[in-house]
């Protein structure tokens, strides 16, 4: 046994210690660089952010960022489980008489602590930017980390139960963030200080008692989990992991969408509608009616550019609008994604390739252009432009977001069949690293003319460039 164990080792102890030393040193160096940047930006904020709206928004920044991070963390946890097992464990161990509680308690604990580790850096970074002092920063970080863990513990308790209030955690967090943004947009944001005080201390202590409770009751929580509760999330991870390993974010999106469809299984079919390529557009309308949350979130996100305008964002408001539209249009482009990723579906339609794909852009495009146009009041507030110019700039920003989203969903996966570039990680396809920036390149292309020339001329130039990009992306084979 000793021979078998020792013959399997691939590094010596000294090599392992050297590697650990290098990792620690790199983490310390990079971490200190990051902290230095954050502190410098914080000092810059101290000097430049003097108006009451700006200081109030700055004080809210950590809460908004953490609220968003908590919502993301809890949504991800719900999508995966939060307790999940690999397909191998689901097939080999779950059907055996082994104690489920013992088998899964480690996963409950690690998932709970992972939530804290995911949110803590966001809290620390944004609290630094907001100028919190050290004690407040630590309390804020520790408290929000505990909150994330408690939420995941609650979701673990909710796992496998049809109705549970924990399922409302992520939406509640997003609503709270929305309320904060609305307060900033309306110039009514309170100026929150740091998280100090005895009440805050007591709250953080209570949260950590909750976290300890979750960790201690992990086995009890895990004991009642069924295979059907933990296997689907575990089946999702290899697919997403494989896609992310090749930096193919669109493939990861496909995996997540398919996972969601698998969980739904069946929906009420809606038939009818127009004929020709308009039939594709009608299907997008049906999708919106079936998932009203998506357009709701899109229009609720109007708070973001309005909040940016309220704190004097200037032309940055346009950039923010482009990015908001880019991110939120992607879930609306499922149809285009299917038409772009393989030729099998697109050849089913009796229309030219470009027309078929363009038909899948009409409804999402109308939504984001309307979103941009509705920013007219925000843009008038922060830029010295007429209403017509503001509407043109807003609509062009929406169009730029659509073009960026189109670029993202129609991008091609890394092609390992072509000549590769030599790197320390081995042979790398020429479009591998660029795939991470896919979409942002077009977002920049659309935003730059408006940033440099925030007038109708800049809006038209941006719109023209974006339309050319969309036409090319839809028409290419």
């Amino acid at each position: 046994m000793r021979h078998w164990r020792r013959s399997r080792r691939t590094v010596t102890l000294s090599e392992a210690v050297q590697e650990v030393y290098i990792w620690l040193l790199a983490a310390l160096m990079l971490g200190s660089m990051l902290v230095s940047v954050l502190v410098n930006v914080s000092h810059l904020g101290d000097r430049s952010c003097a108006a009451s709206d700006c200081t109030a928004a700055r004080s809210l920044l950590p809460w908004l960022a953490v609220g968003t991070a908590l919502a993301g963390c809890w949504m991800l946890a719900r999508m995966l489980g939060p307790v999940a097992v690999s397909p191998g464990v689901a097939s080999w161990l779950m059907p055996t008489p082994v104690d489920r509680g013992e088998l899964l308690r480690g996963r409950v604990r690690s998932t709970t602590l992972l939530g804290a580790m995911a949110v803590a850096p966001v809290a620390a970074a944004t609290a630094t930017l907001a100028g919190y002092d050290v004690s407040d920063l630590l309390l804020f970080t520790v408290g929000t980390a505990a909150l994330a863990s408690c939420g995941i513990g609650a979701l673990a308790h909710a796992q496998g139960r049809a109705r549970h209030p924990a399922r409302l955690l992520a939406p509640a967090s997003l609503i709270a963030v929305g309320a904060g943004l609305a307060a900033i947009a309306a110039s009514r944001a309170p100026e929150l200080g740091g998280a100090g005080g005895s009440l805050a201390l007591a709250s953080v202590a209570a949260l950590w008692v909750g976290v300890v409770g979750v960790l201690l009751r992990a086995q009890h929580l895990a004991q009642r989990l069924r295979v059907a509760d933990v296997a689907p999330g575990g089946a999702l991870l290899p697919g997403v992991g494989g896609a992310l390993a090749s930096l193919d974010l669109a493939l990861a999106f496909d995996v997540v969408v398919a996972h969601g469809s698998r969980r739904r299984g069946a929906v009420t079919a809606v038939r009818g509608g127009p004929t020709g390529v308009a039939a594709l557009m009608w299907r997008d309308v049906v999708r919106l009616l079936r998932s009203p949350g998506r357009p709701l979130i899109l229009f609720a996100a109007l708070l973001v550019p309005y909040a940016m305008a309220a704190v004097g964002g200037g032309v940055v408001t346009l950039v923010v609008e482009v990015l908001v539209c880019f991110v939120l249009v992607i879930p609306l482009l499922v149809s285009l994604r299917v038409l772009a990723r393989s030729s099998g579906m697109v050849r089913m339609f009796p229309a030219p390739l470009g027309w078929t794909r363009a038909a899948a852009l009409v409804v999402p495009g109308a939504l984001v252009v309307a979103h941009g146009a509705l920013c007219v009041f925000a843009l008038r507030q922060t830029l010295d432009v007429t209403p017509v110019q503001a509407a043109a700039l807003g609509a062009s920003a929406g169009l730029a977001g659509l073009a960026a989203g189109t670029r993202w969903v129609t991008g091609r996966p890394p092609d390992y069949g072509r000549p590769l570039v030599s790197s320390p990680a081995g042979g790398v396809p020429t479009n591998l690293y660029g795939s991470v920036l896919r979409g942002f390149d077009v977002a920049v292309l659309g935003a730059v003319p408006m940033v440099l020339l925030p007038t109708s001329g800049g809006a038209m130039l941006s719109a023209g460039l974006c339309l050319v990009v969309v036409a090319w992306l839809c028409g290419r084979k």
Binding site: R262, G265, A266, V267, V338, G344, M348, P350, P352, K477
Partner: protein, 215 residues
């Protein structure tokens, strides 16, 4: 060999395709007349799917001429797409549309008169009426194959191109497929398919093109 004096629906002349140094197709010639079925047979790697992919435009052949209804076959042409119904292994599905919504979409995109009646009929014929409201990811592989085949029958077509349509079909499904293809021929359609199923070939083929052994 066409066996008829009519212009063939599909004409393939000198089709040649290679992958690197390996020549898969070398001057393949055949024609498919209306109301007939041509079946490509051969061992794995002999080029059956490659030939179908060249015909449907999924691959660009190195050499050869392809004509559909007397016109050069360009799959970019909407007229060609409207005339050619294809069911290959690469058919994708919209993850958020149900089985019946897929068929409804195709029928309406092709401006079929009375699409609802046709879709209901085809869905019942392929045995997926009970799965009409299910999303494709929740269907079994055999059910997805039936849905793919159904997609070819809810729209107008002059040529039907199928790549191993018998795959993942049960015995009842195969019987249905044979009956359906015979009905398609009787209606004057041309069929080009690749198959490993001796039963299907014997029942449907008017012309068998044997592709060479893989090297």
């Amino acid at each position: 060999m066409t066996g008829t004096a009519q212009r063939p629906v599909l004409r393939v002349v000198g089709l040649t395709q290679s992958f690197g140094d390996h020549r898969v197709l070398d001057g393949l010639d055949f024609e498919v007349a209306a109301g007939t079925a041509t079946v490509l047979v051969g061992p794995n790697g002999s080029g059956k799917s490659t030939a179908l992919r060249c015909v449907t435009g999924a691959d660009q052949p190195q050499a050869g001429a392809l004509e559909l209804l007397g016109e050069p076959l360009d799959e970019l042409s909407p007229t060609i797409r409207a005339a050619m119904a294809v069911v290959m292994d690469d058919l994708d599905f919209f993850p958020d549309l149900t089985a019946i919504e897929h068929l409804d979409l195709f029928a309406r995109a092709h401006r079929v008169p009375d699409p609802e009646a046709l879709v209901d009929e085809v869905l019942s014929e392929v045995g997926l009426s009970a799965q009409a409201a299910q999303l494709p990811v929740s269907l079994s592989s055999g059910q997805r194959r039936r849905l793919a085949l159904a997609s070819a029958f809810v729209r107008p077509r002059r040529l039907l191109v199928l790549d191993e349509p018998e795959q993942r079909l049960d015995a009842e499904g195969l019987d249905w497929l044979i009956g359906r293809l015979r009905a398609e021929k009787s209606a004057g359609l041309a069929i080009l398919l690749a198959s490993h199923s001796a039963d299907l070939v014997d029942a449907v083929a008017d012309q068998v093109v044997t592709l060479g052994r893989a090297t």
